[in-house]
Every structure is written in structure tokens, then in C-alpha cells.
Symmetry: C2
Subunit: 168 residues, 2 copies
Amino acid sequence: MKLSEAKAQFIQAWGLLGAQWGVNRTMAQIHALLLIAPDPLSAEEIMEALDISRGNANMNVRELMNWGIVEKILVPGERKEFFTAEKDIWKVGIAIARERKKRELDPVLKVLLQLNKVEGDQKDKHVKAFRETIQNIQKFANQTDAALNAFIKSEENWFYSTLLKVIR
Amino acid sequence: MKLSEAKAQFIQAWGLLGAQWGVNRTMAQIHALLLIAPDPLSAEEIMEALDISRGNANMNVRELMNWGIVEKILVPGERKEFFTAEKDIWKVGIAIARERKKRELDPVLKVLLQLNKVEGDQKDKHVKAFRETIQNIQKFANQTDAALNAFIKSEENWFYSTLLKVIR
DNA sequence: TTTATATTTCAATAAGTTTTGAAAGTTCAA
DNA sequence: TTGAACTTTCAAAACTTATTGAAATATAAA
């Protein structure tokens, strides 16, 4: 397989995976492109490689920077801005987990906390079922949250290698 | 807060969360509705509660059954079919993890395996960067895969409680 | 059988999301 | 300052995905 073909396949696969997880396809593709680029790329190069408009490129690169997995590089003597992706996949995973937790999970946990206040005749099976479900989800979420925080805090591989030993 | 209000809020929050993770919003809402229902619900009741069409209800209930987190209940003496959701959130999490892995991660891993075959002059930095990225992702994915398989295989809380001890 | 009730399918349509591209804004060398 | 090079914004258009609802199909009691 030729490099150009392999690159295209990788970008395609990464874009599809992103889309299934609620990430804009183009954003995932730009990320893929930067992941396999040996050097930082300019907006022009990204537009060219993926055949997308300037506005689209700009918007998605910015979002990738918000996620903390792409950064802007200023090359001395160049007017243009260049972009590069974090290459350590472990760090990428941590950044994504951290962002999604903050943006998506935390708000739901906040709502669940509120919902404990539901007025309740404990004899009513509807009230009982509701409370139980909310409390179960909260318990599960808090456990997952603790694991995720540990995962994030580690920032190192020790956690993972220890985990692998434990689960065997 | 009244029960009806709390229910509505929960269904809304669960639907939003689902949507952000690439799950059809209605599917997540039906799941939420069934989670807090003390007894199985009929298609009619689901349509009524969420104000959706028969076709929509049917399609999304079926998908929830495919995911293994909702099941059909036949009540003796009733023509109608009723539906109920798995209430143990731990089991729900396992079912979702298993399905997503199978449907989304595994195909990408297969592609990555292919991409190792890229023709390569190791001195070319483009080839080198590509290979390294692919191999890093594969390594990360395989580790995550192992952890997920352990998680799935456990079907019990021992894994989680052990994990919590390890990371402290 | 026949009839009444329930479920499934799917083409048309609605709703939601992403992308474009041109205009406005910014920056910097001359 | 000015103007060229570059970046950002955003309304309109293209595209994608979800939903409806009526027709087709299935099922069970009479």
C-alpha cells in the first residue's frame, strides 16, 4: 500500500470514529491529518489536504485547540500560523476524557443531585422507582468519576501498567 | 419538586447526554422513561409520554433491545407487548461498552492493522511519522481493549472495587 | 375463516448540523 | 500610515439524520 493511500484511509477511519462519538467529522479528520504529519501544517495545507473551506478549517482547528490536543506554532520569519497535534496518544486520551467529563457528565450529575429533592411518599411505587434509579445512576457516576479523576491525575503510565497486572 | 417535573427533567437530561455521545436523542429518552417506570410500559404509553409517533417508538425500542438494555415483556391475557429496561446501571454500562466496542472500535482496529503494511523507506520522515502514529494508536487501543474486556468479563463489582484500591 | 387489534416498514418530510465563501477584522512590514 | 497577507465571522446553502403517518403485515380471538 502506498503512503498516500494509507494516509487517506487513516483520515477516513478516524473521521468516521469521531462522528460515531458525537465529534464533528471534519474536526476528527483534521486531527488525524495533524497526527500523521511530521511537521506542523498551515491552514492552507489543511484546506488543501482535506478539500475544505477556509472557514471550516479555521473553526475546527480552533475547536481542537479548545480540547487541548492541537496547538498553534509560530515559525520565526513566517507570517502564517502553523498547527501541530499532541502525538502522545495517552495524553490525547486524557485530554479528551477530561473535556468530555467537564462538558457533558458534570452537568448531568448536577441535575441528578437536584432530582433527589423530589417530593415523596415512599409508599408510592412511582416515587420509589424514580428515587432508586436516580440514586443508582449517581452511585455509578460517582464511581466512574473517581476512576476518571485518578486516570487524569496520573498523567503517567504507571496507572495503566498497574491496572493491567491487576486484571489478569 | 413534583415527581412529574422531576421525571421530565431526568428524561431531558438523559436525552441530551445521549445525543452528545452519538446516540439518537429519542432512543435515550425512551431508555430514561423505562428506567424510572416501576412497571413495563406499552408502545402506546411510550408514545404518549414522549409525544412521538408509533413508527419512531417502534424503531427506537427495537434498537434498545439490540443493545441488550431493554426487553420485551409479554403479560398473560394482554395482546399488547410491554417493555422494560435493565435497572442495574452497572449491567447497562457493560452492555453499552460491549456494543460500542464491537460496532465502532473493532472496525478501526482492523483498519489500523492493515495500515501497518504501508510501503516504507524508513528514512522518509513522512513514512516514519505515519508508522509511529499508527503503532502508538494501536498500542493504546489494545491496552484499552484489554481493560474493556476485563471490565466486560467481570460482570461483577470485584473489578471495580479492586481498581479503586489500586488507584488510591 | 373473518375480524379486530397490534406491529412493522418505509417514502416523504421535517429538523438539525455542517460547510461554504465573501466580507469584516487583524497584524505587520515598509 | 498604508496595503498586503493572513485570520475570523456568520448568514445562507448543502448535507445528514430523525420523525411521521399511512399502508402493509402479522397475530389472536371469535
